[in-house]
Amino acid sequence: MPATPVTVFRKNPADPKGRYQEFTVDIQPTQTVLDALHTILYEQDPTLAFRRSCRSAICGSCAMRINGRSRLACNTQALDLFRRDGHLLVEPLKNLAVVKDLAVDMRGFWRSIRAVRPSLVERQGEVPQTHYAIPGKRFNPLKIVSDCIMCGACLSDCTVREVHPGFLGPAALAKAFRFVGDPRDGATRSRLAVYSEPNGIWDCDTCLMCNEVCPMLVKPLDAILLMREAAIENGFVKGMGPKHALAFYETVERTGKLHETSTAIHSLGARFFSPGNLALTARTVLRGKRPRLLAPKPKGLAEVRKLVASVHRERYRTVP
């Protein structure tokens, strides 16, 4: 399909607000969005800025938003997307400042990566002369994170980072799990303690965007949830996050269903009775949301408890 319209976000120091510019690009079948950007750079506008290097989806340079979603430009077939959506819109990653056009300032991303202490901590006295004789399958849990190429797509589409810039974000927490789940690492407990602090695993709102957009099929959310379980197992239960999870769990196990009032009281503790929260509760009740204070025990509670126990056993098999 020759002459395809491509809209590109432009911004430079002289134009700090930025604008959208439309190009008409001759895009051939099997050409990628990166090919289209190169055509623009070489034939129409040598001022266009973007990052790229390997053009085979392994270096992570060319993550950008294409038709509203963060992807790698190099492995995104341009015409497929154009046919599906009727347009091609290329913008820089979100949640990071734009340096120029499609190139963002990645320093915020790398700061988060560094914050999780991303390197193996040796166990005192257990370092082998040659290599660790640990069966391969014990590394299997790491497969959900180890292909991460640090492109920043997940951080860009992270709905928490958008409103809470301190949040470490999916890529950094995936990197954290790469060590929490490593049988060689000697700092599992201290890692879980640190990751349980504010800005860490409990600040994720489990929206699933990170799993959804990752071009390498990494699952940061799964890693975050596994670390939450491991943190609770290791006794790191301070804060609203773990309290909420535990209260949720406890009420389901005890009553067979979610008891919202007691979950709220357990999660918030004394804060439940703060004027602000009581006012919110009152408004909620007035609007018609009235959780029952005393719920009858449902039938099949024994079955529910059996299920809970079995899920518990299964899940923890994958957590060190």
Binding site: S53, N75, P118, G136
Partner: protein, 559 residues
């Protein structure tokens, strides 16, 4: 204000990071400077694995023999001995650093067969071996707080009285030039297969370090030996790992014949890369591609879905995204692709060049461990073995050397050069010259070569160099000027391409990856020698040096 460090490492792939870590561990004040962020380096694209004799029934001497024979007897055998005898300890060290090797149920590091070797000694992590090692080394860089100047493009070496005293570099983000002063500079800038139209290399692999060394007066070695990887994805040249054939994949022509039986009856698909690439090229040129098209098939189907997805997940995704083929269900169309630069900056076994204060490691260097043809699985090995050695030698050198200046003039010269590029308002486009260069190299300095084509290529590259002096960047801005970066990179490519073509024309024999149709035989009497290139004014002067043979005298090479 110059940035002053004991040691400066240019390039942050595996060789650069390993060198920096070693120098840092030895107490040197070290900084790394790289065009791209370290994890974006092209080492991460290495797929299949890294060789080491680590089993009781294997021996590094067997590995060394395979290297020597694979090199068509052109490697320096003392260097090959270092490579192979230090392999195991480097693999183990990476494991202790945190590399997640694929392992068996007993915890042994798994190994797969690779081309041209008598034993299955290629350690791996699925088909993402480079990725895993690269991220492991980057983790170590963070752990040991090694300073990195990211997205700084080194444009020239600074020399003072024949000694290297650092580099001039351009900040890509800000557009300003800076003098990075160092007692020792280690170049680890990778290869230059981007000079070719069809290549597996990243866009950044433009031989900047090799060119800087040449321009500063350091000699290059064996530049004519460019490796063509047998299996690049048809049309795009993206790498499909040799590990696919290591796991048992077949090469088939249009008649679905396993044609390798006619070229390497014993090793079949696991013949060395030079022989396999020539076999594929011959099938294509003789019209035996499917419907006479310029590709052959790489067939994985009989391996089964489980093995394909477990051992070769990356190439499965690449084939799906780039050629729309699912390797579980259909064969992959492949063609040879310019892949690896065997030649490079001449160094000794410690990574030192003849120029004091200048070292090199990895693909940009020529130690020489690969000779006329590199075996798969040895490039990653070279980066860690010789990266470490270069870091060690640089630290020792820096401990005794003084800081010498000399950057003021160089900085002014580079500023003028860049100003001229930015200000020029007319002239040819960079992309046009680069396309002509790629077409020339692929057509005339490719898998099969001959005298008249090579002479024409030399002439064409020289013509392009002339035209380059009037090239038009088209953009005068300083912040993230991608067009300027590409113009500088083209300058690098033209200088290395001239050497590749000159060396190929000069070497009137066929050896390893250098295959002359007009001189089809290996000629040990005349050409069991390394080619050397040194810049004299605007010309490149050619010379040669003997090959160091310690254990295995040259024999006929058959597989």
């Amino acid at each position: 204000m110059a940035v002053k460090r004991d040691i400066l490492v240019v390039g942050a792939g595996l060789a650069g990071m390993r060198a920096a870590l070693e120098a840092r561990a030895r107490g040197a004040h070290v900084a790394v400077l790289s065009k791209v962020h370290p994890v974006r380096s092209h080492s991460g694209a290495a797929q299949g694995g890294i060789n080491a004799a680590i089993r009781p029934e294997d021996d590094w001497r067997n590995h060394m023999f395979d290297v020597v024979k694979g090199s068509d007897y052109l490697c320096d055998q003392d260097a090959a001995e270092v490579l192979c005898s230090e392999a195991a300890e480097n693999i183990y060290e990476l494991d202790r650093m945190g590399c997640i090797w694929t392992r068996d149920d007993k915890g042994n590091i798994a190994q797969r067969p690779f081309g041209g070797q008598g034993y299955a000694r290629t350690c791996y992590i699925a088909d993402m071996t480079g990725h895993f090692i690269q991220h492991t080394l980057y983790e170590q860089m963070l752990k040991h707080d090694v300073e990195v100047f990211e997205e700084w493009f080194a444009t020239a070496l600074v020399t003072s009285q024949g000694r290297c005293t650092g580099v001039i570099a351009l900040s890509i983000l800000e557009g300003r030039l800076e003098y990075f002063q160092a007692k020792a500079t280690i170049l680890a800038t990778g290869g230059y297969a981007r000079a070719y139209r069809t290549t597996s290399n990243a866009i950044a692999n433009t031989g900047d370090g090799v060119t800087m060394a040449l321009r500063a007066g350091a000699p290059l070695e064996d530049m004519e030996f460019m490796q063509f990887h047998p299996t690049g994805l048809y049309g795009v040249g993206i790498l499909v790992t040799e590990g696919a054939r290591g796991e048992g994949a077949y090469l088939l022509n249009g008649q679905e014949e396993r044609f390798m039986k006619r070229y390497a009856p014993e090793k079949m698909e696991l013949a060395p890369r030079d022989i396999t690439a020539r076999a594929i090229q011959t099938e294509i040129e003789e019209g035996r591609g499917p419907d006479g098209k310029p590709f052959v098939w790489l067939d994985l189907r009989h391996l089964g879905e489980k093995k394909i997805l477990e051992r070769l997940p990356q190439i499965t995704n690449l084939a799906r995204s780039f050629v729309g083929v699912d390797p579980v269900k259909a064969p992959i169309p492949i063609q040879p692709t310019a892949h690896y630069s065997m030649g490079g900056i001449l160094t000794d076994l410690e990574g030192q060049t003849p120029m004091p204060g200048l070292l090199a490691a990895g693909e940009c260097a020529c130690v020489s461990v690969h000779g006329a043809n590199r075996l798969g699985g040895n490039s990653l090995l070279e980066t860690v073995v010789f990266g470490r050695r270069a870091g060690r030698a640089a630290a020792a050198y820096a401990a005794k050397a003084s800081q010498e200046d000399g950057g003021v003039d160089a900085l002014r010269r580079e500023e003028t050069r860049i100003q001229e590029l930015l200000k020029r308002e007319d002239g040819e486009r960079v992309s046009r010259l680069r396309t002509e260069l790629g077409d020339t190299m692929t057509a005339k300095v490719g898998i099969f070569r001959n005298g008249p084509d090579l002479a024409a290529a030399v002439q064409k590259v020289r013509e392009l160099k002339k035209r380059y002096s009037g090239v038009n960047v088209g953009h005068g801005g300083r912040v993230f000027n991608l067009a300027l970066v590409e113009a500088l990179e083209l300058g690098s490519l033209l200088d290395v391409a001239e050497c590749v073509a000159l060396g190929a024309l000069d070497r009137t024999e066929s050896r390893g990856a250098h295959s002359r149709r007009d001189y089809p035989k290996r000629d040990d009497e005349r050409w069991l020698r390394h080619t050397l290139y040194t810049r004299r004014g605007d010309e490149v002067a050619m010379d040669s040096s003997p090959v160091r043979i310690t254990k295995y005298p040259p024999q006929e090479r058959k597989y």
